[in-house]
Amino acid sequence: MHAFAELMNRLAFTSSRNAKLELMQAYFRTTPDPDRGIALAALTDGLNLRLPFRRLVAELLEPHVDPVLYKLSRDYVGDTAETVSLLWPVHNEDAPVPSLSEIHETLQSLKRADAGPVLAGWLDALDANGRWALLKLVTGGLRIGVSARLAKTAIAQAFDHDVADVEEIWHSIELPYENLFAWLDGRADRPDPGDTPVFRPVMLAHPLEDGDLARLAPAEWVTEWKWDGIRVQLAGNGRDLRLYSRTGDDISKSFPDIADAFSGFSGVADGELLVMRDGDIAPFNDLQQRLNRKTVSAAMVKDYPAHIRFYDLLFHHGDDLRALDFTARRKHLEDLLAVNEFSHASLSEVIEFKTFDELTVLRDGARDANIEGLMLKRIASPYMAGRPRGHWFKWKRDALTADCVVMYAQRGSGKRSSFYSDYTFGAWRTGEDGQDELVPVGKAYSGFTDAELKKLDKFVRDNTTDRFGPVRAVKPDLVFEVAFDAVQPSSRHKSGIAMRFPRIHRIRWDKPANEADHLDTLLTLVAQ
């Protein structure tokens, strides 16, 4: 438990991806089974604990702490688990520190009535960091900025393997993953997933750069619309069915309607998850209502019906099609969909064209908010994991832009910790007093060079009007031309809108702030 607590603690304060990977690699290399397997499950969100620990923890602490002091402490610390870990009155240094696997095993068979004393015994044996890690573990949600994908990358890199090789078996192996580590350590072969519907790493596209088209022969390429949903993979063996995100997270539970619609599906298919009503694709915002839900109500399924628009097939029944070219895979996909007539499914249309000029016209003319642009796929290419060069291109529509005024700047982290590198910008609107006022419309921290960052940092330091911890308010004097993919209505923001993928397109040192855009202009861009 000590090593795990130290890892949690370090990860919680580390922002750089590489530094996080290094910390995890060191942990997985030096920690024995089965503890490292439990840790891996915790980091990939695979520990399901059933007891109401959140309530238990409060009950346990109550007799020990004066309620006034508890309240003052909780208000100051701002997090219950952390407050309890700090206020816990006992640290018995002679008590044996429980191991992670011991904790996990005990929790599996623990009864509600015994949970309090058991948890209290563990808390007594741990120091403040250990108590914090334990409480994070049992109350769920580590929130230390590590995705499942990053944890898998760490174990692969720790033992010089490719993360794709881990992904391919991930959903067929179980806690505490001893067969996985045996393979990673070189002590055994890779576990065989059999016909389990595991995730197969997806093929990704490169953005089309200026000049790329000139080097391509139109006859060697097919094109499809690029839909504005989320990339998913549907995997089934005729009995079990799973829906995966593009990073390999199992999102089946959030989409019971998909499970119903594709019962009996046998194969692995690649497609775009969309919300579809009466044959029309709903805005991305509607799809967002369905994401990251642990439980899904019937009303949710009815109001936001999920749909998959398919564009590729990796396996047809048990047959691996990935070495085939686009046309052959496409034929299998069409056959599969024709035979089964699944509801909630459609085929991504292949667009006929002779010259790239035709496509340019088509792309520029696409005003439908659900289309992000075009996909170009090389006909001869097999289906390859990762982002191989020269096979698939995404050719996005030009981004929308608006001129916004910098309002606040925040210091970055890691390499940027001495730079004010995260900017909140606003648009003008008429205030209640009839005067123009700025209202924040977005935040961005990319789209500029290092040299520009230096200049921006100087601007922030020279024009600070107020400070709030790491944030500075600045004089409304600098205009950013902000690029973004869409504008969505948002009840969480004062402006009533949220930008999708905002980034700084150009820094308009020349433009007076009062000539920046008005909020009304942004409102007209809201996706209908």
Binding site: L72, S73, V77, A128, G414, S418, P470
Partner: protein, 336 residues
């Protein structure tokens, strides 16, 4: 019937004033006669006429202020008593930093102790806290909340040394308060077995040099000055906390930012500072030490200054003691 101490010892806009002695303790503005508990800038300010403090506190004020330390400096040793206008003034070690003292005031059979800042944990750079039994104890409350329980300082230093070993490609940039914390952390990492040169920001060099003249061994220290980033890779560099967010730190290549402070106990505070490696070492008493001290001094009345008075006053009253918040101007707790 004892005299209410508030009739002769009370806060004023210039600071805590002892009326019969006609002097101020740690005044916030220049006064005719000042008694200073320790050298931190919010306690020892320049421009007073007569200044009484321990020899080391006076030295530190001269390192920092030169001639502005005061016109007439009078040293007083721990254990010594000097009468000022009929008030007996004594000094006892506070365990806070080198030279830090509690000021003992004896007047008409009544004893008040102004502790200044203090801690009970051991510190190789200064004399340990001495319990002085008294009628009135004036305590700080920087960490006056029960969540503040500092870690064992030696263990924290060992964690830092272990990280230097584990991540030899990263410069370890440690933000420390320049007086006290800086030298204590150096001693702690030396005790944990770190014997490589330690690099210092320019603002830390003068006081480190002074500490070594007082017999505090700091090992080899080098100025960061114009060292190229490669030379600092894998090295331990100490700087004032503000320098980490400042342009100065850009000379390091992807540094690992550490802070040594009692505030690091609370994650939100540590994240706000941008600490990647929080180290919970403090020169102020933590909550258990505050309570221990309040019990040990056996005073009937406790006054609480700068910090989280609410929680400590609540605790004092539940201990059956008389407590009072003493609103003193000019003290900071952020620099710790």
């Amino acid at each position: 019937m004892t005299l209410d101490p508030a009739t002769w010892l009370y806060p004023t806009p210039k600071g805590l004033y002892c009326e019969p002695g006609d002097f101020y303790i740690d005044p916030a503005r220049p006064v005719g006669r000042a008694v200073i508990t320790h050298g931190h800038a919010d306690h020892a300010r320049p421009g007073n006429t007569a200044v009484m403090a321990t020899r080391q506190t006076l030295d530190i004020m001269q390192v920092r202020y030169g001639e502005r330390a005061g016109e007439n400096l009078q040293a007083i040793d721990y254990g010594e008593t000097i009468s000022i206008n009929g008030v007996d003034v004594g000094m006892a070690p506070a365990g806070h930093i080198l030279g830090a003292a509690q000021v003992i005031l004896d007047w008409q059979g009544y004893r008040a102790v102004v502790s200044g800042d203090y801690k009970r944990a051991t510190d190789p750079t200064c004399t340990g806290f001495q319990v002085v039994k008294c009628d009135l104890f004036i305590t700080e409350a920087t960490f006056g909340l029960p969540v503040f329980v500092h870690e064992n300082a030696a263990t924290e230093a060992a964690r830092l040394v272990a990280s230097l070993d584990a991540s030899p490609q990263r410069t370890h940039l440690l933000g420390v308060y320049g007086l006290g914390k800086c030298q204590r952390m150096i001693c702690l990492v030396r005790a944990a077995g770190y014997d490589k040169p330690i690099y210092l920001h320019g603002a830390l060099q003068g006081l480190c040099a002074y500490y070594t003249t007082q017999g505090v061994e700091l090992g080899e220290l080098r100025p960061v000055a114009d060292e190229p980033p490669e030379a600092l890779q894998g090295q331990l560099v100490l700087c004032p906390p503000s320098a980490i967010a400042d342009r100065w730190s850009r000379r390091m290549n992807d540094p690992l930012t550490a802070f040594a402070s009692g505030w690091m106990r609370v994650r939100a505070r540590a994240r706000q500072r941008g600490a990647e490696f929080p180290i919970i070492v403090s020169d102020h008493a933590d909550w258990p030490e505050l309570l221990q001290t309040i019990t040990d001094v056996e005073a009937g009345e406790i006054w609480v200054t700068h910090g989280r008075e609410d929680a400590l006053l609540h605790q004092i009253s539940s201990m059956g003691l008389k407590g009072r918040a003493l609103a003193l101007v000019g003290f900071e707790d952020e620099g710790e």
